[in-house]
Amino acid sequence: MRGDLPGLLHRNIQISVAAGTVPEWGLSLLSEVSMAREKHQKKLKKILITGNEAIAEGALSAGCDFYAGYPITPQNELIAYMAKYMPESGRVFIQAESELAAINMVYGASAAGARAMTSSSSPGISLKQEGISYIAGAELPAVIVNIMRGGPGLGNIAPAQSDYFQATRGGGHGDYHTIVLAPAYVQEAYDLARTSFDLADKYRMPVMILGDGFLGQMMEPILVRRRSPATKGHNKEKPWALTGCEGRRPNIIKSFALAEGALEQLNLKLQQKYKVIKNKEARFEGLFLDDAKIVLVAYGTMARIAKSSLTRLRLAGERVGMIRPISLWPFPQKAFCPRSKKIKYLVIEMSYGQMLEDVQLALNGKAQVEFLGRSGGGLPSEEEIINKVKKIL
């Protein structure tokens, strides 16, 4: 019994929050307690770390063998963390001469069987798009991190969510997708970094972690596992990798399909893969959807602010719910099944309405969709969200 004390506390607080007898701070207490419980059960280590570093640590724990990157704000903590910890465990770290070189190094490392990653921020990710398209076409696993900043152009270095279209619609040339995962918490950034490598290997495709400058720079306590050793390209589960053709026919890694009909076949194969992913890999967090009259829809840092507004509105007796997409592609369409035509949706973004289009597509006219967003360094406050909700209600 004594051993499961955190578990008992956890249940008690859950009940109290559900009953509305525990105020706002109960929610953060709940997360503290669940963290203590998990730490106790899985013998994890608790560390205080930024979102950028958490993604790097997640990559190390996932057995990332290779990292290449180019400095850009606001993701510099990530490249610095990799520079410090990759070489000491026999993994490859390269500061590339450009974003183009970095993404093409990832292509090469992945072709050689390594678990490979690069990271950047918005203008840098634009530069990487050609390489991402090649990685998708050559069916190589890779993890790409975009800690978004304001655009267009050089924009500024303030947090933003204005690369949603670029991330979820492919981004480069050709008929392709990347899986896009959007963490809202530093712990989730760590966890999704681990997941990204598994998804990339499973589907042999690029996976993007889409965060924003707030998440990248913010420090939070998280629980981490022991780091897996690097595979150094000796991955037996990758028979397609370039390792030298000893004892087998030569392998070729390419996206080029010149013969008549060959490129269509490659595209059909990709589309088939995307269909499976759409069915299997959509992720979201839903809150109070059972009785909500208005549903907030937000991802990443914006979702945390929306959640604070939701807590205050709930405590004031308003029937507000929330959908937080965690995978942006595939978009969690199935989360959008309103119980009646009277339910309204409020999409909140650090952009002027990009995810908004996916919500509208998912609802297909079945419910009213409102929007609240700011861009270029600004973001809607808790009060703005609450006022907007009250106005809609």
């Binding site: 450009s98 070189a101 093409n104 190094m105 072709a111 069987g113 370039l242 030298g244 053709c245 996206s255």
Partner: protein, 242 residues
Amino acid sequence: MEKIFFPPESLYDVPTHYCPGCGHGIAHRLVAEIIDQLGIREKTIGIAPVGCAVIAYDYWKFDCSEAAHGRALAVATAIKRVRPQNIVFTYQGDGDLAAIGTNETIHAANRGENLTVIFINNAVYGMTGGQMAPTTLLGQKTSTTLDGRDRQKHGYPLKISEMLALLPGVHYIERVSLHSPQEVLKAKSAIRQAFENQINNAGFSLVEILSPCPTCWGLSPKESLDWIRDHMQKEFPLGRIK
């Protein structure tokens, strides 16, 4: 009768797509013969460029990767770093290596990556129909320099091998040509040297090969070889550069 001359094991026995008189077929074969001689076929990883040699992997019988235009040395850097036990080389044209990929070329060389580079200089963009390349000679007519390359409008032929030789990270650079049997033999020995350097962990090695492109030069195969001898090698002198 005893058979003493065989096609290299590192080449598939298939016809190539190259034009009559093109140098790529010879260069491919030289690379394949050296890989056979050094006994490294089963641990070699080749990087094909974007350009005429884009499907070189259909001719070479060892592991190969495509690279985006100009990015072969970024791709090769990563493969070699992940798998230092393999022999990794790039095969790139002048547009790929000395125009769109100049940055990757200079930085891979400057890092002293232990790689072998086969650089085909034919003074034009062959695949796309003969536009001006960074290595196009002054006065040379191409589909984008109709009156010939003009130094005031287009700048000078880029001597990337000489530029790279200035970098301390570079171990070996030699310029060779395919315009006569004697020169082909010299080219073969330079290619061998460049691969041996990698085997001995000596560092970045590059062989620039002056190669004929009769189609885009508007010359017969024989005239093309003479053009290399009489014009091209004056701009790009043969021999060991570093």
